[in-house]
Symmetry: D3
Subunit: 241 residues, 6 copies
């Protein structure tokens, strides 16, 4: 099974990190390829970045030539998943919803710890429309930007601090609220004493599940195939899809 | 007061029609300028188009040189409004939410009649996250594509047919669910016997209200000014914002 | 355009203050007239006052001879708006909902700061049934009675203190939770650093919007014209409407 | 135990009918007294009537000299219960909420069949704020006005017809949606084959329960004792409470 | 009227205490009989105990030979009520929902104070599905196990401490969150200054109300009579019901 | 990886069928063992059966000697999953929630088609408390009992008929609402033209995902280890756990 994992930003190092996280989760027969958008934001933090990222990632998927069986979209709280479902004939799993789906199986309420506070609202909306907001006890920020996460010690400390707030609000399970945090789930889980779900790994597993069961996105209604029409992807860009 | 109205697609004729609708609603001291994105879909119908449109419209606003006091985003159910709020220092009003806000003042439940059925889900999500989904009795489609709306008689007939379904679900007020329907509100209202709100006009009035009261988008939390960083707007595009 | 603004209590000074607030918001072609109910409570604080006020205000509107184009009901959280919609042929805007509608356009969550804690529940219910409760982060009291608001310095201090609580609960925009606070929006906004919406001004603008767009209350369903019948308005009162 | 039952309108015959219904439900040690407001609407159908009724009923309770242990407010969907809770030192039960509370114990979803369609919205709001809206499958009208209910055969036929609609929506229990229907519960239940709850009887039983358990309305928060102030109850009326 | 009260656990002393509480609430013509399950947990604290208790209590009811008119299920938050409604021809009232129904009549929001924190989630779910979760401000634990409640002074102190938390969350009425707390309502109410509802007494009163009004569980839909089939009740058990 | 799949009833043939469905979904390194409860109902249809089943399945798990890495509970809408999470040290996945989790990834709204109408309410509650009810468009019955499902042609016809109703309500994906339907997903999907999720396969995949990622049930809060105490499992049964 071939899974493509799309980074939501143009930072190649982050794609590599995400791919490492995805591969660590992938089953024996699964190959993981990372896709870095050719355009978009260097990191996605807030609504403007998220909408720019959505278009860039969709353009990247639209023009990806290599065959694959499923897509994992690795932008926590970032937009675009429904567009990818329309566009593609293979299952699409977003790491935001993926983490929540698994977290719901491990505790009665889960909480998300993300980067900047400004991203919390987006994540809440993303969980809500994905249908998994009901058991979310809260989404909190660490105050760290996406590109500051490379300092692991600092990230872990900030995560543990912020985790206290969602724990107090009732969270029994935690979710790493940024693709750039992938790989920290175990060290953080040990420190906070509750299970911690990494969205990248969760999405890989859910993508494997869907492909393994032969399930595909419904074409009835919302995610019907987009009609052919003129679409221009960016200033200098062109083509239609 | 100068209001910029952004079309969500690249079809210039539609921009002109939207501008006509906006001017018909604008107060005496208001000037209306239409902006057609330089890229994006030729019509926005579904999630893929919506996300492409969001980035294109944000890019258009980002690079618009002329000064203005408020923005009206004329894509019914299209994404992007929160990004524009982050980006700009002036009030931003989306026609989807605008129509719903006014409709809530005219009846206990409102309904939306839009173009293709595939767009209904997006509109529902847009109303929900805007905070005005509670009194929405339903969103229904006419089966007409955006570029088919120029046939007014057919559009009116399809609208009236579809309206029956949301009326049965409890709607006491109707909303024109596409910017391309602007101008039809009166003829439709006469035929269905309930008030019909046009989002374009509603958004112009709400933008005038916000500017008139000196109100600006909050910078506390979600819509904080985006940090400066590298952002590439499309394949050939460049620049940062 | 002629807008009638109804005070929810019998205190003439408050009517004058509300009219001042309304006129400050009104557009050039709008005239504002204040109506003080001939009966009812001297200030509306709690459910008993609110229900008494509702009947008194409806009676005042019912017997108002002068022509007008829209009504603004200036009781924050007070009952009656749906009755006025049934009764009258012109648009009716309540300051509670009005403030919330505009606040939703300025931030992802808004909060209300009102007078006594006892009024918070009423306001919550009013926002909920108006269809704009979803994005309300909280309603908090200052501990000040309606008739204590004339001491502006004290009111501002109490408002700023209480505002902290809704800010902590996620409010990015604040609403003045009493008609008697009208005029304080700017000074308070400067102190708390977020936009502050005054319901009186907001309702005037929304009334202007509805009238400007030629929109009227729906007569289909809930707000159908009341049937003629015997109605006695108060102990010594009489007449039918 | 002395229970006062307030009619929501000025029609004495209806008070008598309600009192009959209340007495049929009352336990051996309970005496029931009916109160007809001295003013208000001759029948309550819609928001205008409801708000007028609320003030009139509160005035009636305020000026009632005889001692009593609990109040039953017999206006289905009519406003005022929270005001009575503030005003009085004895438990207050509204027939709308009472019917719903008992209906929840008899089936997973209940439905309400009321008089005119225009009243449905009010009833929905009343159930929602009372905290028992969650398991309501629907509120439907029979098309009969309150004063038309004296024709029992016609009322039963209309009720049975309307009941089908809420049954289809999932209702397993029905509620008589008007005090004027009291006494019909058995004949209707036989015809539709599900339990039918009469709000008047339900409220009497709940009032007896509260008094029997020594429970009183909370004074902490919302229903705190109203402050003494000038309140004028109607045009010619006077006094403060 | 004969009411059977089922304990949710096998501790005979607790049955006796519950029966005392039930009799204190019962009307003059009501006899109360306690049933202790022959199997199940010695105290119900958490999901495992609750599910075990549900089956044991249903088995006890199924094999109870003496006639009765209603059942009160005295396990706060424990499962099983819907099964008893299917099984029996008499009304069934669970103390969890009963307390909430009455609490809703006494204040705008209520709170529950229970034993161990681990039980809070179950109680929240129980209130939600019973249709009375909307006005619940919170469920909090005292940290005391069910079998520790016999130390009344300690229980009262722990209750008062915990009550502060739900009061802060908006509760205006409190509910004793364990059958084993029955009898403490008055002493606790005096200490916290708000009404306190005991579920055992509340359920007795609601059972009396239903029987008094001749109301029975609906057989339409969810609570239809269970089909005859082979059912084995426990390891050594047998029989079908 | 060793997965134990528990049947919710005592019918051995159904266990075998479920095991076949589970094995068809399981990955190469996964072994599946079926467990048939030694007691309980011969088929679970309704609340009484569900609660009996819950205790019997928990008893079966409690006394299962062989080691395993995860549990799949194969009762659609049946109770007990939270108890198993408390009891066991390995992940527990219920087929109801599992099907919904995957269905949410394939369409914007999903619908469930189950056996008897009487089971619909239970399933709705199960989805709601699992946190995945938000995107459920409806749960409908086929009118077939669990033990009638062996007639595949009839089941498929009844499923397709019932599916129309949830499709009309907006479902874009369907869920097989009974473990006994496992294996029918493909034939049904072809007939109705939308993806159909089998809960048994879905749960196996989710269990594999959790184990593969090293995730365990949270012990913080709701699913804390049950305290040691006396618990008797059925009439003749004994032991404590």
């Amino acid at each position: 099974m071939r899974i493509v994992v799309t980074n939501c930003n143009t930072t190649q190092e982050m794609t590599e990190e995400i791919v490492r996280g995805a591969r660590a989760a992938a089953g024996p027969g699964t190959t993981v390829t990372g896709l870095t958008p050719a355009w978009g934001p260097e990191s996605a933090e807030g609504w403007l970045d998220s909408y720019l990222s959505a278009a860039a990632v969709l353009d990247t998927l639209r023009t990806c030539d290599e065959p694959y069986d499923a897509v994992v979209m690795a932008g926590f709280g970032e937009h675009g998943r429904e567009g990818a479902r329309e566009l593609l004939d293979v299952p699409v799993v977003d790491i935001t919803e993926a983490a929540a789906h698994l977290a719901c199986l491990l505790g009665r309420r889960y909480g998300v710890v993300t980067t900047l506070e400004r991203s919390c609202g987006q994540i809440e909306d993303s969980l809500e429309t994905a249908g998994v907001g009901r058991n979310c006890a809260g989404v909190v920020g660490t105050g760290l930007g996406v590109l500051e996460l490379h300092d692991t010690d600092r990230t872990v400390r900030a995560f543990v601090d912020a985790a206290r707030r969602v724990r107090d609000a009732g969270a029994e399970v935690l979710v790493l609220g940024c693709a750039g945090m992938t790989g920290l789930q175990q060290v953080v889980a040990e420190k906070v004493g509750v299970p911690v779900v990494d969205g990248v790994g969760a999405a890989v597993k859910l993508a494997e599940a869907l492909v393994g069961l032969g399930l595909e996105t419904s074409r009835a209604g919302t995610y019907a195939k987009p009609p052919a029409k003129q679409r221009v992807w960016g200033r200098g860009g062109g083509g239609s899809a």
